[in-house]
Symmetry: C2
């Protein structure tokens, strides 16, 4: 009888508690849908700092901005963790068709590209993709500028980018092995605007000059090549890579009330490429995850576990911040309850992926009104989370609609106007619900 | 009785003749809808010549290209008429916010802008439009960079552009009178991409440095200004204007079989700005009107009147070709039966305007299947036609849908991919029908 009564009380208490948790999560969601917190964060970052290539003065300013912003946002603790990497700097890049149809081309040097040391003039040899370049003989390629015209399919989940991006990483290395003097790739992007998309290539000793052409410029070369006359191009790429770069992962934490050492890690990356103001990549992720945590921090009581926002350093040139974090915290990774990064712009979240059916059962009734579908086990948690995932940390993913993400990604056109404030709010609502429930659940 | 019979025969002949003319016009229309002539012309011009700023080597190449193209197209006569103008050349332009939020800005110098002679650093003072600048005191403006943030409304007929463009023409002159050191305008354009729109400003002695900001950059300045701190900008604009520029109106004619001295003048302009490849402005107009005339020239017999294609020189910097043509031909303007220019891209024609109700009755049954509405008296015939219209030449206009025209106009993004081949064919069909009927009618 006493046991039965105890069980009954316990069940009632659990039920009351669960209702409180769900009510709180629901209130968080509604508050997020009315909140300008995320917009204000990304507006401030993109306006006051703007482009913030890792290792530059602007990146230092971004770190100072982030530290001040997290302190103002009411996090219990804010700290920096150093991240070291080689600094790659763009000075200038120019390209022009020399003959037979003289005209300028729009290019952007790729991260870790080499320089041309003045103007480098050579004939181009075109390939449809990496496989075609692989099977080419050295005599076809030697002394030429390799042009790889791999296109990128538009897809909601970025899978088209995944298929195309190896050209950017590996094209230069392969072209060099075959004796090419430089490599030009069709931008890994889905737009047809005159914006070349930058992005990192493989780090190598003595890398080839490597640059992306805008899609209209790649099409222009294809039309010229169809005329069956040799096309000569002059490239002038001036960049440098220096050892000894440093930046910081900027971290803010809301300490858990019961299990403060157990951490829900939510994140974006603070650095951006130098061409745009880094609004969708990744001012949005910084803003979404910070705003979600800030809303949780504003609740009457702290959640059971800690919520840690990590604004990673130098994601763009090789996940340097993510790797440094995993290394620095490798002994506490069993205390990382869940981790995820928002690094796919500000498109609407349409699916929630996590390998925990019980948690899906708990969260989905709160996410469904946001238009979010029940998903499957997360295949990843974002680029900076991969090192943690590889070391066994559980991840979740709030999958966003990325249909237009690769129209702007890594271009000068990645600016604040590309973010829809309503969609940004929906993201914050989803992140607030999931982060809170993970932090609060038993 | 004899008179009655004669009248009957005449009526029958007229009817047979009219049917033949209408049948021919219909066949022209159907042929045009299947034809790649216009696409091939604009593809060739934008690929093989590319950007062709008036007075440059590329412009010379465009003239040679046009002459060869018209000869190949089977025109009875092809000739050049010289056009003289001051040559304006862009060397480079750079802008950056110096303080308090250091970052680059995307600008494009305006035609006939002055240079800064190295870097010019000054505070900006913002105005919503020309009226606000007019009413400003000199003390507000003196020594500063004037920023005019006039936006451009999207409209099917370009009326939004018409309202906004005075800022580009007159902003520099007005700012100079008030003692400003330079002028930056929000691009006269309807897109929100990182493309500044160039375009001509008023020619003046000792003009101010004048440039357009892309819309996202103008928005960025507005956000900075909202923070109520002085914004200092550094401009580096290097351009030059030289006397003694020359180019050519390139003209092809299909000689009329009965009234060869009576001319239907159809036209586009051959020059383009230097930033894009001049596909919509105005490779499209060159291609549409040339292809329409070429189809007429391929008929079994020449039309009654002559069809003259004029590919005007240097429209962009002040309608130099149009003015030169009107001057050179001012004694034969009574022989110019009708004139029009296609200079609004390759959007679908949606209305036919002409102040001739009888001709509208004749043409509309043939245009209606193309989705073209009966219009009113034409308010103009295109920029290069204005000098002729002012001297009494009758004009018509095939009004195009220009909803997206000012997204690309005068930017680096004016490239071939912005032209829809189907829409281009509809344009050729409309121009072929109208041009042929005007040339053939009694």
């Amino acid at each position: 009888m006493r046991i039965t009564l105890s069980l009954l009380v316990l069940t009632m208490m659990n039920s009351v508690f669960a209702d409180t948790m769900l009510d709180t999560a629901k209130q968080l969601r509604e508050d997020a849908l009315q909140s300008n917190l995320a917009w204000d964060i990304v507006e401030s970052l993109t306006t006051e700092v703007g482009p913030r290539l890792a290792g530059t003065v602007a990146d230092e300013q971004a770190v100072a901005w982030a530290q001040a912003m997290l302190k103002d946002a009411g996090f219990d603790r804010v700290w920096l963790e150093p991240v070291k990497f080689p600094v790659w700097l763009r000075h200038h890049e120019k390209a022009r068709v020399v003959s037979p149809y003289p005209q300028p081309l729009h290019i952007s040097a790729l991260g870790y590209s080499g320089s041309t040391d003045g103007e480098l003039t050579a004939e181009i040899v075109a390939f449809a993709g990496l496989a075609e370049l692989k099977s080419a003989s050295a005599t076809e390629v030697e002394g030429k500028i390799v042009f790889i015209n791999q296109s990128t399919d538009r897809s909601i989940d970025g899978s088209g980018y995944g298929k195309a991006v190896p050209v950017r990483y590996a094209g230069g290395k392969l072209a060099k092995e075959k004796g090419a003097v430089a490599v030009l790739i069709r931008s890994v992007g889905t737009d047809s605007h005159r914006f070349p998309h930058t992005g990192s290539s493989l780090r190598q000793d003595m890398p080839l000059p490597a640059a992306a052409l805008s899609a209209p410029d790649a099409d222009q070369l294809v039309r010229m090549l169809a005329r069956k006359t040799p096309i000569t191009i002059a490239l002038d790429i001036d960049v440098e890579t220096n050892a000894g770069g440093q930046s910081y992962n900027v971290i803010g934490q809301i300490d858990g009330r019961e299990k403060p050492s157990e951490v829900i890690l939510v994140s974006g990356h603070l650095d951006s490429w130098d061409l745009g103001t880094g609004a969708i990549d990744d001012g949005a992720g910084v803003a979404i995850t910070t705003a979600a945590a800030q809303l949780i921090g504003a609740l009457p009581q702290r959640p059971r576990r800690s919520v840690r926002v990590v604004l990673f350093a130098n994601e763009e040139q090789g996940i340097w911040g993510g790797k440094a974090y995993a290394k620095a915290h490798h002994e506490e990774l069993d205390q990382h309850y869940y981790a995820s990064e928002s690094d796919f712009g500000a498109g609407l979240v349409w699916q929630f992926d996590v390998a925990d059916e019980v948690f899906l059962d708990l969260a989905m009734p709160l996410l469904k009104p946001l238009g979010i579908k029940r998903g499957v086990a997360a295949s990843g948690g974002g680029p900076d989370i991969k090192p943690l995932m590889d070391m066994g940390v559980s991840v979740f993913r709030l999958k966003q609609n990325g249909l237009d993400y690769f129209d702007y990604h890594h271009t000068a056109d990645d600016t604040l106007d590309k973010i829809n404030p309503e969609s940004l709010r929906q993201n914050v609502a989803a992140w607030a619900v999931v982060t809170y429930l993970l932090a609060e659940r038993k």
